[in-house]
């Protein structure tokens, strides 16, 4: 536990003493802010029209602003998480510090969790900053705190799964660019795999649909917390962290 903290603090510090965290956060916040502003502006425009048009009666904040916001944020995450995780192992492998690190009396799992949680912490700070949008909505008298909380829980689980995958890919290569590109590709694949659900035969189609990262976020973004979705993300997280442990071990056997 003590070693976990030591690793965690060091990794978090590296994120913030280098430009990585700031670059990712600024780009993320600009993009997310734009999405938020756009959907809010569109929502208020339609709200004015709704006063004259009875067909637009069913207009609501959750469908018009919150759900799209979480959807959009997760698309930006798809691009940003690989950049966040690419250095975690690749950098240490390339510079040789991995050998130094493992000559210290520290367990592989402590190093892994320290690194993983540091990336997750940066992610949480970044997404947490979008909580400001909820304050804006609240100030406008339009808040839906329940949906917002459920949405953020979904974001956290989604991000944790993304990062687990990114950490695993980073453990496979000593090249950061390769790590980022492969993480992005695999995440994208998990993202769009659900599209095949309607074109592929039933059993396989269902599997594809279940594997889709997006599908499980949809419920959270609507304010529905389904244990099936929670389990899905937890399984993804454990699966990729487990693979990372194996990858670290095999690296040492093979040299």
């Amino acid at each position: 536990m003590r070693n976990f903290w030591t690793i965690f603090k060091r990794e978090l510090r590296v994120y913030f003493t280098s430009p990585i965290a700031y670059a990712i956060m600024v780009i993320f916040l600009v993009a997310a802010g734009y999405f938020f502003y756009n959907s809010l502006a569109y929502y208020s425009l339609l709200s004015f029209q709704a006063m004259r048009n009875p067909y637009l009666e069913n207009l609501n904040l959750v469908d018009m602003v919150l759900s799209p916001l979480f959807g959009n944020i997760s698309v930006v995450m798809l691009l940003m998480v690989p950049v966040l995780t690419m250095r975690l192992w690749s950098e240490e492998k390339k510079s040789g510090t991995l050998e130094l690190l493992f000559s210290y009396p520290v367990r592989d799992i402590e190093v892994l969790l320290g690194k993983y949680c540091a990336a997750l912490a940066v992610f949480m700070i970044m997404v947490g900053l979008t909580g400001f949008y909820q304050l804006v909505l609240w100030a406008l008298g339009q808040s839906a705190p329940g949906v917002a909380l459920s949405g953020y829980l979904g974001m956290l689980l989604l991000g944790a799964a993304f990062i687990a995958l990114g950490v695993f890919v980073s453990s496979l290569t000593e090249n950061q660019i390769v790590a980022a590109a492969v993480s992005f590709g695999v995440l994208l694949l998990f993202w769009v795999i659900g599209w095949s659900a309607s074109t592929v035969e039933a059993p396989l189609g269902r599997v594809f649909e279940y594997l889709s990262l997006v599908k499980h976020l949809v419920n959270f973004a609507k304010g529905v917390i389904d244990t099936a979705d929670v389990v899905y993300y937890l399984v993804m997280i454990f699966f990729f962290l487990f693979l990372t442990m194996r990858s670290l071990e095999s690296k040492r056997w093979r040299g």
């Binding site: 030591t6 280098s18 040789g96 493992f102 000559s103 210290y104 009396p105 520290v106 040492r252 040299g255």
Partner: protein, 313 residues
């Protein structure tokens, strides 16, 4: 303190180290000598538990490095080859990190880091980023992190590579100062380094230990007595015959034909040699006693190994 028993390491079908066996006694400084690619770094990585060996066992202070990896790593200070360090940290932060992870404890941490910075003389750069440091300072920071936590065993992989002569001397005398209190394994491909710093030398070539002894004994073993190199101008056959007649001369070989001779002798005969040459009216241009250095032993062992391997093929 360190017992290496028939350790082998294969990367796929390629053997990096084969059946390596040696011991290091407590307080001893052992030189691990070999040409580049001989398997030095692989052996060091096995000692620190970074690589599990394919066969054999390594025990440090009685503990198997594979079974009790964490306990062993607590006792070891390791300086990897090429000194990989976290460049984006300052020297002090990095040493604090090393102290934390080695379990030095908050109370003693300041004192311990202060001590190693003093020993390695890096106090002046304590606040600098490691990536901005010169090679010499990096090397010393690497040594400092190995010393943090006061480990009993130091494993140093080529600790003086890439340093200028003055820095090399500093590092060497620092390492010599550990004699008696720490067990040190130091790998190098520079022979004088081993003979200057180490009490005992293990020579490894192509993954196999080819010799193990003190630097002096290794030198004596090869030379098998003294040798004298002389350059004499005179009729070659007569000179050769005259040299052979001298008492105490075991064998004479004529060199490159330009009047140089190599004598294997049992005792000091240089005065008699000089007298004999003068008496016959020849000219004596040069006369030196050559003693085999570690370098000769090394080259000899390494070449022997090579011919043997070729024979097998």
């Amino acid at each position: 303190m360190i017992e290496v028993e028939r350790v082998s390491k294969y990367f796929g079908p390629i053997p990096a180290v084969r059946e390596v066996t040696f011991r290091v006694n407590p307080g001893e400084i052992l030189g691990f000598l070999g040409p580049n690619g001989a398997g030095k770094t692989t052996t060091m990585r096995i000692l620190t538990g970074f690589y599990p060996p394919t066969g054999g066992s390594v025990r440090v202070a009685g503990l198997d490095v594979f079974e009790n990896s964490l306990a062993v790593r607590k006792k070891i200070g390791y300086l990897p080859e090429n000194v990989p360090l976290y460049g984006e940290m300052t020297v002090r932060d990095f040493l604090f990190f090393a102290a934390d992870i080695k379990g030095v404890g908050k109370a003693k941490r300041n004192e311990d880091v202060g001590r190693v910075m003093e020993v390695c003389r890096i106090e002046a750069v304590a606040g600098r980023y490691i990536k901005k440091l010169s090679k010499g300072f990096r090397q010393r920071v690497g040594l400092a992190q190995a010393l943090v936590g006061d480990p009993e065993v130091l494993i140093l992989d080529e600790p003086t590579i890439g340093l200028d002569p003055r820095q090399i001397n500093e590092i060497r005398s620092l390492i010599r100062s550990f004699a008696g209190e720490k067990t040190v394994i130091l790998s190098t491909h520079i022979l004088p380094e081993a003979s200057m710093t180490c009490q005992r030398v293990v020579i490894i070539n192509q993954g196999v230990v080819v010799a193990e002894d003190t630097p002096e004994n290794l030198g004596a073993r090869l030379s098998g007595g003294r040798r004298i190199k002389a350059r004499i101008e005179g009729p070659a056959d007569q000179v050769l015959a005259a040299l052979k007649r001298l008492s105490g001369v075991r064998a004479v070989t004529s060199g490159d034909g330009a009047g140089s001779y190599l004598l294997e002798v049992e005792e000091e005969i240089r005065p008699q040699l000089a007298a004999a040459v003068c008496k016959s009216g020849w000219d004596l241009y040069e006369m030196v006693q050559v003693s085999a250095t570690l370098e000769d032993v090394f080259l000899n062992l390494v070449t022997e190994e090579k011919t043997e391997v070729q024979d097998h093929a």
